[in-house]
């Protein structure tokens, strides 16, 4: 029978990439130190990738991983020292493995040169030290006869295992005699094609040890009865347990606490589409709940006491449910941070700098969708820090600083936001140079600008201070893209710098992209939602506060600041006549450091709204970031304050 293995491929690849990440992290941690549990962890990861690849028929991956495994095995058994060249080699091999896997998964063209290079290097390395290996692993040259009783559990196929593959692998270890045992099989009519009713009695003539035989069955451990014994042994050893301890664990009886116990609380793998569906349903529930709350507001609280109590209970439970569902989408930012040790190590070596990377707050959680999108901007920032920020070791020593520079990645929660910081203790931003470059590139600037304004110049499209373009940074496609990506997530970027002491980039992001704290305002019968984070204050301007400026529109004076006033009714082309200003309300909003007053008819309230896409069935609208559904079932547009501020300042400049 054949099983469609493809359905398991996704899980296999996911697990492999996780395994590689783990290997990489642990390899970096090993860096010349004593091996112990860390080597074992790397070995285990390599071993499961090899096993999986063999099961799913990815021969190239399996054979490549086999070489890594051999090297790691020597390291863990102590026949080979854990040296820097070996670790480097293994790191190179993980890269090659990653591209092999990516090629197998996506059918992308393979970077053959890299893979072949890594494989050749591995083989050469192993070959050079073949001698110690052969002495260390005392091969029992004598062939022994093993009797193996293999009874797969009926649900073996469901976990994607195929006894045939196992038997084939066994056959490679020696001379195999198989006897199929159908005693346990039910009558033909009752056979379930997807269950395994077979059992085997095997006799294997092999020079391999029992542990090696057992390893063949490693993938089906727990879903079979397995008994391996020597034919000559009269007394059967205590039947090798079905779910016995992992074979490899023998070498490492004491796992260091806190290193690999992460996630041991038991977890299941769930597709993000399922969580998204759950999220949508919760969104619907929140809308329904808001609708009920609105209806209940009109009821007599005395007569309907019980109903109202029930509704407030519903309100609380809905909120808790929403939080619970949201938390399932939350991932620790460590999954992003953990990529950087490798990047920093490689880059520092390339640039001839000495850099130490520290991370703070790796366990800070944020929405998966945000995590996915923050990785590229962070990458840019870290590269910039290394290339432009940190000086060469000589320059640092000359300046009286530690020759080893420090780059720090920090994450922390602040209210409904998450702050991610990239700091370095390098030379800081060079004000004069930025101004000079900006002028050269025709970006408007003056010497009188404040530091903060000068730093903003870096975010101008095409800006680059690097005198030569390296493959690290300096192409000038960096910071403006960073800023754009962050702004697209509803976040902001701030730069701080002090000359000679270093610079700090702070990214502020919303916790989630699905729900927004909004302020609802009414304009000629329509309700609009403003993101609460953008609203500074709202006021009813007095007639003398409002001035009309010729060709410039209207401005309103608020505490000695003149802010442009945008009439939402006019701007959106809504019907009805604008009220006289002193009867209307001005909501002051801010984005990217610029303020604007929006003229609305009334303030309706504050509420959490579920963001719905307008683009799914319609198109983008200028100044609108999405839509939501109000308690009464009506659709309300969410205003994109950033875009309005930008558009209006452009309109004003024109």
């Amino acid at each position: 029978m054949s099983i469609d293995l493809a359905q398991f491929h996704r899980t296999f690849f996911e697990e492999c990439f996780e395994g590689i990440d783990l290997m990489e992290r642990d390899l970096l941690r090993m860096g010349g130190g004593p091996g112990g549990e860390t080597v074992n962890a790397v070995f285990r990861a390599a071993h499961s990738i090899k096993g999986g690849a063999a099961t799913f028929g990815f021969a190239a991956i399996a054979s490549f991983t086999h070489h890594m495994e051999t090297l790691l095995d020597q390291m863990r058994s102590g026949t080979r020292a854990i040296s820097d060249p070996a670790v480097d080699l293994l790191l190179r091999a993980t890269d090659a493995l990653r591209s092999l896997l990516a090629a197998a998964r996506d059918g992308e063209p393979l970077d053959t040169a890299r893979v072949a290079g890594a494989q050749a290097a591995l083989e050469a390395f192993l070959g050079a030290a073949d001698a110690p290996e052969s002495t260390a692993v005392a091969v029992p040259a004598v062939e022994q006869a093993y009797l193996i009783r293999f009874v797969p559990a009926p649900d073996l196929f469901r976990s994607g295992n195929d006894p045939l593959l196992i038997l084939r692998e066994l056959a490679t270890l020696g001379t195999l005699e198989t006897r199929l045992d159908l005693d346990t099989a039910p009558a033909f009519a009752e056979c379930d094609a997807e269950s395994c009713h077979m059992a085997w009695s095997l006799r294997l003539l092999s020079s391999h040890s029992r542990a090696e035989l057992q390893e063949v069955f490693a993938w089906v451990e727990g879903s079979c009865e397995l008994d391996i014994r020597l034919e000559s042994a009269a007394a059967p050893p205590a039947a090798v347990a079905t779910t016995g301890p992992a074979v490899h664990a023998v070498a490492a009886p004491t796992p260091r606490p806190g290193e690999h116990t992460v996630g041991d609380g038991g977890s299941i793998r769930v597709g993000t589409d399922k969580i998204d569906a759950l999220m949508n349903l919760v969104g619907e529930l929140i809308i329904t709940q808001a609708m009920l709350a609105q209806l209940a507001g009109a009821l007599d609280p005395v007569l309907n006491e019980k109903l109202l109590a029930g509704l407030s209970q519903l309100d609380r439970n809905t909120r808790l449910l929403q939080e619970a569902v949201m938390s399932t989408r939350m991932l620790p930012i460590d999954s992003v941070f953990s990529r950087f040790p490798r990047l920093v190590r490689d880059l520092a070596a390339k640039l001839g700098k000495q850099v130490r990377l520290t991370t703070v707050g790796e366990s800070t959680e944020l929405d998966k969708s945000v995590i996915e999108k923050i990785s590229d901007p962070l990458n840019h920032l870290v590269r910039n820090s290394l290339d432009h920020g940190i000086e060469s070791p000589e320059a640092r020593s000359a300046a009286g600083k530690d020759a080893v520079g420090t780059v720090t990645l920090k994450a922390a929660h602040q209210g409904d936001n998450i702050l991610v910081e990239v700091c370095d203790d390098g030379r800081g931003l060079d004000r004069a140079r930025i101004l000079a470059k900006a002028r050269e590139q025709g970006i408007a600037c003056t010497d009188a600008m404040s530091d903060a304004e000068v730093w903003q110049l870096i975010f101008a499209p095409g800006f680059s201070t690097a005198d030569r373009v390296t493959d690290v940074s300096g192409r000038g496609v960096g910071m403006d893209v960073v800023k754009k990506n962050i702004a697209a997530l509803g976040g902001s970027v701030e730069l701080h710098s002090s000359a000679g002491r270093g610079s700090r980039t702070v990214i502020r992001l919303p916790l989630t992209l699905a729900i927004l704290d909004g302020m609802s305002v009414g304009v000629s019968g329509e309700i609009f939602i403003l993101p609460l984070s953008a609203v500074i204050e709202s006021l009813q301007p007095q007639a003398e506060q409002v001035k009309r400026v010729v060709h410039q529109g209207t401005v309103v004076r608020v505490r000695n600041e003149y802010l442009p006033l945008v009439d939402l009714r006019q701007w959106f082309g809504l019907s009805g006549k604008s009220r006289p200003l002193h009867e209307a309300i001005a909501v002051i909003v801010e984005s990217e450091g610029r303020k604007l007053a929006l003229q609305v008819d009334e303030l309706v309230g504050q509420q959490q709204v579920v963001i719905k896409s307008l683009e799914a069935n319609y198109r983008r609208i200028r100044g609108v970031s999405g839509a939501t559904i109000l308690g009464d079932g009506r659709v309300s547009l969410i205003l994109d304050v950033g875009a309005i501020v930008r558009l209006f300042s452009q309109a004003q400049a024109a």
Binding site: N280, G283, E284, I287, E526, W571, F572, G573, L574, K612, S613, L614, E615, A616, N617, Y618, R619, R620, I621, R622, G623, V624, A627, I629, G633, R634, V635, S636, L637
Partner: protein
């Protein structure tokens, strides 16, 4: 509704996928139109729409269709018919076109008609409010004449301004 549509469409899909044989007919002014029934998701009464800024007048706004935001087009305004009233009899056909959901306001929905290939004639070059590009043919059934529209092509076209290909930005 859609179940029967699917079943009856299957044989034709296998033979000639381009020729649907069941049409939902609706009226706009004096003319009667037909659209492929498989593109129709449901028929609803007209309810409150939320107006959208910077949209042409025939785009009435968006509605909440069980949690999805759906734009609504008034075909009577699009085709410049004399009157476009909104009352409890105003109906809206919810279409599923180009992987999107769009609501279309018409004067009235008549019925579902089955047309065989010989009842469908090629479209003449003139004679209706709809640009002939979007007309797949003229269906005749006894005394009635039916203008058959390729609704997917019409709704995705640039002059409907429903999709982003128009590139506002």
């Amino acid at each position: 509704m859609s179940t029967t549509g699917h079943e009856s469409a299957k044989p034709t899909e296998a033979a000639a996928p381009a020729a649907p044989d069941e049409f939902l007919t609706f009226t706009l002014g004096q003319e009667e139109y037909g659209v492929d029934i498989l593109k129709v998701q449901e028929i609803r009464g007209y309810d409150t729409v939320t107006r959208i800024p910077e949209a042409p007048d025939f785009i009435k706004g968006v509605i909440n269709l069980r949690g999805t935001i759906v734009p609504v087009v008034d075909m009577r305004l699009k085709f410049h018919l004399a009157s476009a009233e909104y009352n409890e009899f105003t109906v809206m056909i919810i279409l599923n076109v180009a992987r999107r959901v769009v609501g279309m306001v018409v004067d009235g929905v008549s019925d579902v008609m089955q047309l065989s290939a010989e009842q469908i004639r090629p479209a003449p070059e003139f004679g209706s409010s709809v640009n002939t590009r979007f007309i797949t043919g003229i269906g005749t059934l006894e005394q009635r004449m039916l203008i058959l529209i390729d609704i997917e092509k019409l709704m995705s076209s640039q002059d409907m301004a429903l999709m982003d290909s128009v590139a506002i930005h």
